[in-house]
């Protein structure tokens, strides 16, 4: 069995993660209930005519994956595995509006073609001419973890050498409206820095794309080693800590070995208790959170993964991510995320 490393990390988010050389040194504070991602300079990667037809999710996915390939110094990979909880919402909504508004008449296929969940994965393959394995996972808040798991198993088993893995979700107008209707989106805006103490229900919605090159060949420049991951469809709050401990034990790692704990708190007072249960169990670790910077979306844990990789490589946890960051060696990072009490994901990383 081979070990699995991460060579590169590309991110398009509501922070300046695409262009910024620094690691969340300067962050943008929002006072919104929905935060769009900052556009990357798409025209550097996508011909303008093609870009005009593409929804934001596809463009974000292409930008983030191109950045990841470039950083890894690769033109192609053995496979592309994508996570996307909601798929291509913008084109789905557009085509649906067309059907309803025009009583099923005068429809053009463009938005239908681009509405399938695997559009991003397919477009990336088309762009780099990758004829290998191409899967898209669409399972709520473990969409990205499922994609990671698939790549992890193939690389360990030497079925591939380099795989591009990513998470992408875009905001859709109708989806935002209906999620406001059922209070999944916060009623009132909260300043980013107060998200976790707002004592309100719902989340601030966001969007973004993070892509990574995973490989079973270690390099000096690798960000970290992916030790393992686990997903569970259900988990009681009371059992989160014991499950985390059992998960770590599979890799001979104890609670005190975790230097960095990254949790997916989103400021929803009904569900952040899961993270409180876990962080209590890790009193010594630096505790980092990220959704105040990005908002909530199904594959936002890929931003948490991006942050963990940067932290392990740079040996630094920026103040924007954690209130209790101190100067220490960061060896192991544990990530935990869930959405509304279902689809729980644990990911374990080790410094290279």
């Amino acid at each position: 069995m081979k070990k699995v490393y991460i060579h590169s990390a590309g991110s398009v988010s509501s922070q300046n993660t695409f262009s910024d050389e620094g690691f969340l040194e300067k962050v943008i504070s929002y006072m919104e209930t929905v935060i769009p991602a900052i556009d990357a300079p798409y025209k550097e990667f996508i011909p303008p005519a093609a870009a005009r037809r593409m929804a934001k999710g596809v463009k974000m996915g292409i930008a983030a994956s191109t950045a990841a390939l470039k950083e890894a110094g690769l033109e192609n990979v053995d496979g592309v595995i994508t996570g996307s909880g909601m798929g291509c919402l913008v084109d789905s909504e557009k085509f649906l509006r067309g059907i309803i508004d025009n009583q099923e008449q005068h429809l053009t296929p463009t938005s239908f073609i681009q509405s399938t969940h695997n559009t991003v994965g397919g477009q990336i393959a088309l762009n780099i001419q990758c004829k290998g394995y191409n899967f898209t996972y669409v399972h709520g808040s473990v969409s990205f973890e499922s994609a990671l798991m698939d790549a992890f198993l193939q690389l360990k088993n030497e079925e591939a050498t380099n795989i591009l893995v990513g998470g992408v979700d875009e905001l859709g107008e109708h989806t935002v409206e209906v999620h406001k209707l059922i209070a999944r989106i916060k009623k009132d805006p909260v300043p980013s820095e107060d998200l976790y103490t707002s004592k309100s229900i719902g989340a601030v919605f966001g969007e973004g794309a993070q892509f990574f090159v995973l490989s079973n060949e270690k390099r000096d420049s690798s960000y970290a080693e992916l030790l393992g991951l686990k997903t569970l469809n259900t988990l009681a709050k009371e059992k989160v800590a014991s499950h985390a401990e059992a998960f770590l034990k599979e890799y001979d790692i104890g609670i005190s070995d975790i230097d960095l704990l990254i949790t997916g708190d989103n400021g929803d007072q009904d569900f952040d208790g899961y993270y409180d249960e876990l962080s209590k169990q890790f009193p010594v670790a630096i505790h980092a959170r990220y959704k105040h910077l990005t908002g909530e979306y199904h594959t936002v844990s890929s931003f948490g993964f991006w942050a963990a990789l940067k932290a392990l490589k740079l040996q630094l946890v920026p103040a924007a991510l954690s209130g209790n960051a101190d100067k220490r060696e960061l060896k192991h990072a544990l990530l935990y995320n869930q959405y509304r009490g279902i689809d729980h994901g644990f990911t374990l990383l080790r410094r290279c």
Binding site: V80, G85, G87, S92, F95, L96, R97, I99, I100, Q103, E104, Q105, L107, T108, P109, F112, I113, S115, T116, H117, N118, T119, G121, G122, Q123, A125, L126, Q129, C130, K131, G132, Y133, N134, F135, T136, Y137, V138, H139, G140, V142, S143, L153, Q154, K156, N157, T175, E177, V178, H179, L181, I182, T231, L232, N233, T234, K239, H243, H298, I342, D343
Partner: protein
């Protein structure tokens, strides 16, 4: 693959039957499920044909004893029915007796309800309960809950029309990696105005019953349905002394990297997928007894797939047929529905016919099996190809 992955149970619901036995009977008797649209109010009524599951949602709910107040899309309802059958067929009485996972596949998820309540939801709050049933993953989560899978590995794959073939593939990978002892794999998709109008706008829907591999084929008929298999590890099969229905011997996925929706002229991705599957199965092309083709009856697919089959099998193309003329194209569910048919073919020693075929295509010399044929079948290759250039092949066999 040195030893195949054991398949210990299967379940299905499609336009031609509510369970495995009914599906077999319809295939045996040559009864197609293709007809005019019944349950969806659409202006396409007279211009397309579809293969609907004959029961409406209320009937599906009643038959499965589900709470009438549920928030299930039709995709979930079909999925629950097929998954329950697979679990019962495998003789599973407890989900927690070993590490059990669920890998499902869908392309529309809860689109049927979203399109129904798109504006009313905002105006009157009608259909509000279906909002969170829209995402593809939620249908899987609901199926998992119905089956009683807790703290389990549950996920969803959506790669258009190859989705459930890929779910079968990923389930096998998880068993091989030792992460699960048992996994329920398959997919579900219901008909929707969204897909009917989508494929109609691509101008690939036929107004007549579809005729795969026919020179004068006019396009596909959409269908709906669900099918699931239970895959179990060798140890688990031994422990529970399970009867094994068939084995998954090989699988392969490749990308055509040609066009977002169309297949490449000579089926590069399809060729690569079939070769990968054969390599993993450690089989020679001569060892494949029958191919259940993707065969959607579109001009593009059948030409591209036919050429790919010739590229792989050269002059010894095995007997083949597409069962899409029975079920229509059930999109994400087609891979698992046809996996069930592949297993039935081996169990009964039958090649189910490629209905509606009349005239050989001019581009090559391929003629499918057009009437029910009895013969011993030990191995079946099943193809599933989808948008995004996604190509998958599975190989099933009687022997491990």
């Amino acid at each position: 693959m040195k030893r195949g992955i054991a398949i210990t149970g299967m379940g299905i619901i499609s336009s031609i039957g509510d369970d495995v036995e009914q599906n077999h009977l319809a295939l045996f008797e040559g009864r197609s499920g293709v007809a005019r649209v019944r349950h969806i109010d659409t202006i396409l009524h007279d211009s397309i044909m579809v293969a609907e599951v004959p029961h409406d949602n209320e009937e599906l709910i009643r038959r499965s004893g589900l709470d009438i107040e549920n928030s299930f899309s039709r995709t979930t309802l079909l999925g629950i029915i097929a998954a329950r059958q697979a679990v019962a067929d495998a003789g599973i009485t407890s989900m927690s007796s070993c590490r059990t996972g669920l890998i499902s596949a869908t392309s529309v998820g809860g689109m049927d309800m979203t399109e129904k309540y798109f504006y009313t939801c905002m105006k009157t709050g009608g259909g509000k309960k279906f909002i969170e049933s829209h995402p593809a993953g939620m249908s899987t989560q609901q199926i998992a809950e119905d089956l009683g899978i807790e703290e389990g590995l549950v996920t969803t794959i959506s790669t258009a029309c190859s989705s459930s073939a890929n779910a079968i593939m990923y389930g096998a990978r998880l068993l091989k990696a030792g992460l699960l002892d048992r996994v329920i794999v398959g997919g579900a998709d219901c008909l929707s105005k969204f897909t009917m109008n989508g494929f109609n706008s691509l101008m690939i829907l036929s107004d007549e019953p579809n005729s795969p591999f026919d020179a004068d084929r006019k396009g596909l008929n959409l269908g709906e349905g669900a099918a699931f298999l239970v895959l179990e590890s060798e140890e688990q099969v031994k422990k529970d002394q399970k009867k094994v229905r068939a084995y998954l011997k090989g699988y392969g996925n490749a990308n055509d990297a040609h066009h977002q929706t169309a297949s490449s002229e000579f089926g590069d991705g399809a060729t690569a997928a079939m070769i990968k599957a054969l390599e993993l199965a450690e089989m020679k092309t001569s060892e494949i007894d029958y191919i259940n083709a993707h065969g959607t009856a579109t001009a593009n697919n059948d030409l591209s797939e036919g050429r790919a089959i010739i590229r792989v099998f050269d002059k010894q193309v095995p007997e083949f047929s597409s069962t899409k003329a029975f079920t229509g194209h059930t999109l994400a569910a087609s891979g698992s529905i046809e996996a069930v048919y592949a297993i039935l073919s081996m169990q009964h020693g039958l090649i189910y016919p490629n209905l509606n075929f009349k005239k050989k295509m001019s581009e090559f010399d391929l003629v499918p099996i057009t009437s029910l044929k009895e013969r011993k079948i030990d191995t079946v290759l099943s193809n599933s190809f989808g948008f995004g250039g996604n190509c998958s092949s599975l190989i099933f066999s009687k022997q491990p």
